[in-house]
């Protein structure tokens, strides 16, 4: 019995009352199916194993979501030994055999999270309960990632986060069952600040516009701390609602505020809108305090740069990865993705693809799908060849520690995809930090919770 099992596994005595009546009266009729067969949630018993892809296919981050979906489909094909194998050939060390995971063919189900935490969580529940997903992955917003990894902890299902950049994902809100490959706002701050100092000097007045949710807050905090350490002053930090469309009323006060740098803590469509509108307001042609007015976008991706078009030229930001990197991993992935979809992959696609592979590799190394063993295999795992140099999945907070890219909008793009230049690659020792600074508690891996 599912109910009985869950009660006992928590070392709780089943008590009388309504639950007891349900448990003994009606429940046996319906719960018998497969209840004893599995010792953990969605133990794959057939010859296939299901990934649950939770993707924002509509909403503010929809473009990222669509690109992630492509990457997952590619990763699953490669895991099953189809296509050119992609990064399977370059991952070091690798336990992947190209015959699925532990001999089981990988399939997937997907759900549109609409860039909303609530919906993302409902979708993840559905994929775990209805479709028997062994692992949930994806998402393009930190709000989603935090909401879903809480659920996964509760259900005992591993969550491999997609694009999420908030410090909280592996900080205050970290979970034992959640893993993040993407970098975070704190690392953006460490990487970006020196470049900003070099280019724009140490005497600047910054004005922040911030998306009003966990990611925006932590990025604002991190960038503020990093730039203030340079000697910059922060004139104001203004919160704008996620998914706002007209930023004009937030932009006009900047013009005469005394600020000479605008920092846009926005992402996805928000960034495309706020950046283009800021440029329409003539901010890049302005002078303030005797200096050229500048705009900085601390986190930027190719998709957004493409969306913003002309406006992004010359603007600094950071990225997790870029398709134009020249290491074998990046070349292999770009080639594989480009051949399949006719465009280079975005950083969202890259992190999604890598997460799928890392999960599969960890299962192979653990020799079982049993989540606590997989978690052990991922924690403290060191690997190379995935396009970010040597990378460590840190055991303390489940954050990947790897190099970070500082990028700049390309002044003279040769194609519609050639919109960002890599200015500098910050090595991982520089962007590593003490996991204790963000607090949080991973929680236990065992007893493994049982989903319905």
């Amino acid at each position: 019995m599912t109910i009985l099992k869950r009660g006992l596994s928590r070392r709780r005595v089943l008590q009388t009352g309504m639950a007891g009546i349900i448990g003994s009266g009606v429940a046996p009729l319906v719960f018998t199916k497969g209840a004893w067969a599995q010792e953990f949630c969605n133990n794959p018993t057939g010859d296939t194993v299901v990934f649950g892809l939770n993707l924002p296919l509509t909403g503010t981050y929809a473009e990222e979501g669509a690109d992630e979906q492509k990457a997952y489909e590619l990763a699953i094909a490669h895991l099953n030994g189809e296509g050119d194998g992609g990064l399977l050939n370059v991952l070091q060390p690798s336990a992947l055999k190209g015959n699925g995971i532990l001999g089981k063919k990988v399939t997937y189900v997907s759900s549109d999270s609409q860039t909303k935490s609530d919906v993302a969580r409902a979708g993840a529940t559905r994929m775990i309960e209805r479709d028997g997903a062994i692992m949930i992955t994806g998402g393009s917003s930190s709000g989603e990632a935090i909401a879903v990894q809480g659920l996964c902890q509760e259900m005992g299902v591993i969550f491999m986060a997609g694009l999420t950049h908030s410090n909280d994902t592996t900080g205050k809100d970290k979970r034992r069952y959640g893993f993040r490959h993407f970098f975070n706002a704190y690392q953006s701050g460490i990487g970006l600040a020196p470049v900003l100092g070099q280019s724009y000097g140490n005497d600047r007045q910054a004005y922040h516009l911030t998306a009003d949710y966990t990611w925006g807050w932590t990025q604002e905090e991190s960038i503020k701390a990093a730039t203030e350490a340079l000697g910059w002053k922060t004139t104001a930090a203004v919160r704008t609602p996620l998914g706002a469309t007209d930023y004009s009323q937030y932009l006009t006060p900047i013009l005469n505020s005394g600020a000479d740098v605008l920092i846009l803590n926005h992402y996805g469509l928000d960034m495309v809108n706020s950046l283009t509108q800021a440029v329409q307001f003539g901010m890049r042609d302005r002078q303030a305090n005797g200096k050229d007015f500048q705009i900085v976008t601390p986190l930027i991706s190719e998709l957004m740069a493409k969306g913003a078009g002309e406006s992004v030229k010359g603007i600094f930001g950071t990225s997790n990865w870029h398709w134009n990197l020249q290491d074998p991993g990046s070349i292999a992935f770009t080639k594989s993705f480009g051949a399949a979809y006719g465009s280079p992959p975005s950083q969202a696609a890259h992190t999604a693809y890598v997460q799928a592979l890392l999960y599969a590799d960890a299962v192979e190394r653990a020799g079982t799908f049993y989540p606590p063993e997989v978690i052990k295999a991922l924690e403290g795992h060191e690997f190379d060849g995935m396009g970010n140099g040597k990378t460590l999945y840190r055991a303390e907070d489940h954050q990947c520690i790897k190099s970070v890219l500082v990028v700049q909008g390309n002044e003279s793009p040769t194609s519609e995809f050639d919109v960002l230049n890599v200015v500098q690659e910050i090595d991982r020792d520089t962007v590593a930090y003490d996991p204790a600074i963000f607090g949080g508690d991973l929680g236990p891996a065992e007893p493994v919770p049982m989903c319905a």
């Binding site: 109910i3 309504m18 429940a27 319906v30 935490s117 935090i146 902890q153 509760e154 009003d212």
Partner: protein, 380 residues
């Protein structure tokens, strides 16, 4: 028993109870027999039944009911965080808070009627949503949604020395409420909610509400103050919404601001209209259909369609797949919108009226002329 409830009502209630409790069995062949969806069937059923008490009986169209739903969720999660993981205090707390919230908003909104009432409720709900999303973040945790953590105080649990390992989840007397246990928990409340709604509709109070709908002015001319009745209906309906919101938080302990957005309010309107406004069972059926579509239609993709249409000749099948694929998967809202427009135009009484008409047609199958019911004026 017969004096307490008419025979028809009793049969309806018993039938409803059986259908609800047996859902895991009879829905399994339709691919809907899994706990998460079943729980949602119950929760949104309660929401729609409650909405119908206001809209169906009094005719006041609220476009802001999601606010009470959201308040219920937040209240329940706070109860889990501060007091205890047990569901009962959370439910009580949530219903009280949302009732209070509904009392304030209802008191203000009911000073107007018609479209002005709708816009007022919409404005209040949007304000709640926008505030929950921004400055009320300390209470709501903004976009991420309010979650349970290990570090929550839970004073009552702490007082009895209960500790917790792993991610905290709501319980009922120590029993966890995920999966089917959660479903039966919600089902109990749906049945209770249905029962109360049935009693209200049949009571003098219910008659009064219906009188407000048919002609408020005349009621007022006869010296009747209708406001307290409408307000009671509004508050009851708000408490239903709060109960539903609390149940959603019980089965999945996260409260997000999105569930307060006006589109969520619009959804419950759709449910009620689609099923049959003013009927008891209609709103529940509407809620089930919409949630079923949302979960099942949205999961269909080209491969499944191709298999479904595979009996057709190749070229034709491709075209049919292409056309039908626009209506499922991501496009399921299109199906919903079309169904809704058709219902509003041709079947203002919703699915329940369709059922009635079909039943009537069968009953008169011998006689020659089948007249459409007088209530509806189908568009030409």
């Amino acid at each position: 028993m017969t004096t307490f409830m008419s025979r028809n009502d009793l049969f309806l209630f018993l039938g409803f109870t059986i259908v609800v409790l047996a859902m895991p069995i009879w829905l399994a062949p339709f691919g809907a027999g899994y706990p998460d969806l079943l729980q949602r069937f119950m929760i949104f059923g309660i929401f729609a039944v409650g909405f119908n008490i206001l809209f169906g009986l009094t005719g006041y169209l609220s476009f802001g009911h999601a606010a009470f739903f959201g308040v219920g969720s937040y209240a329940a999660v706070w109860s889990f965080k501060l007091l205890t993981l047990d569901a009962i205090p959370a439910m009580i707390f949530a219903v009280l808070i949302s009732g209070l919230f509904a009392l304030i908003i209802g008191f203000l909104c009911l000073r107007r009627s018609g479209i002005y009432f709708s816009i007022l409720t919409l404005a209040f709900a949007q304000m709640s949503y926008n505030l929950a999303y921004s400055v009320l973040t300390p209470i709501t945790n903004g976009e991420t949604g309010l979650q349970l953590t290990l570090a929550d105080p839970r004073v009552l649990d702490a007082a009895v020395g209960q500790t917790f390992v792993g991610q905290p989840v709501p319980t009922l007397l120590g029993q966890q409420l995920g999966g089917y246990a959660g479903f039966y928990f919600c089902a109990g409340f749906l049945i209770l909610a249905f029962f109360i709604a049935q009693r209200i509709a049949g009571s003098p109070f219910g008659m009064m509400l219906k009188a407000i709908k048919s002609n408020q002015t005349r009621m007022q001319f006869t010296g009747f103050n209708t406001r307290p009745y409408a307000l009671s209906a509004f508050v009851i309906s708000g408490m239903y919404a709060g109960l539903a919101g609390a149940l959603l938080a019980v089965t999945d302990p996260l409260a997000g601001a999105e569930r307060m957005q006006w589109t969520a309010s619009g959804e419950v309107v759709l449910m009620t209209i689609l099923g049959g406004v003013g009927t008891l069972v209609g709103p529940v059926i509407g809620a089930w259909i919409i949630k079923y579509f949302e979960n099942i239609l949205s999961a269909l993709n080209d491969n499944i369609l191709a298999r479904f249409w595979s009996f057709l000749p190749e070229g034709v099948a491709d075209v049919v797949v292409k056309i039908t694929s626009k209506f499922v998967g991501d496009g399921w809202h299109l199906t919903l919108g079309l169904a809704f427009v058709i219902v509003v135009i041709f079947l203002p009484g919703g699915i329940m009226e369709g059922v009635r008409r079909i039943a009537a047609a069968f009953r008169r199958s011998g006689s020659s002329s089948a007249k459409p019911s007088a209530r509806t004026q189908p568009a030409e």
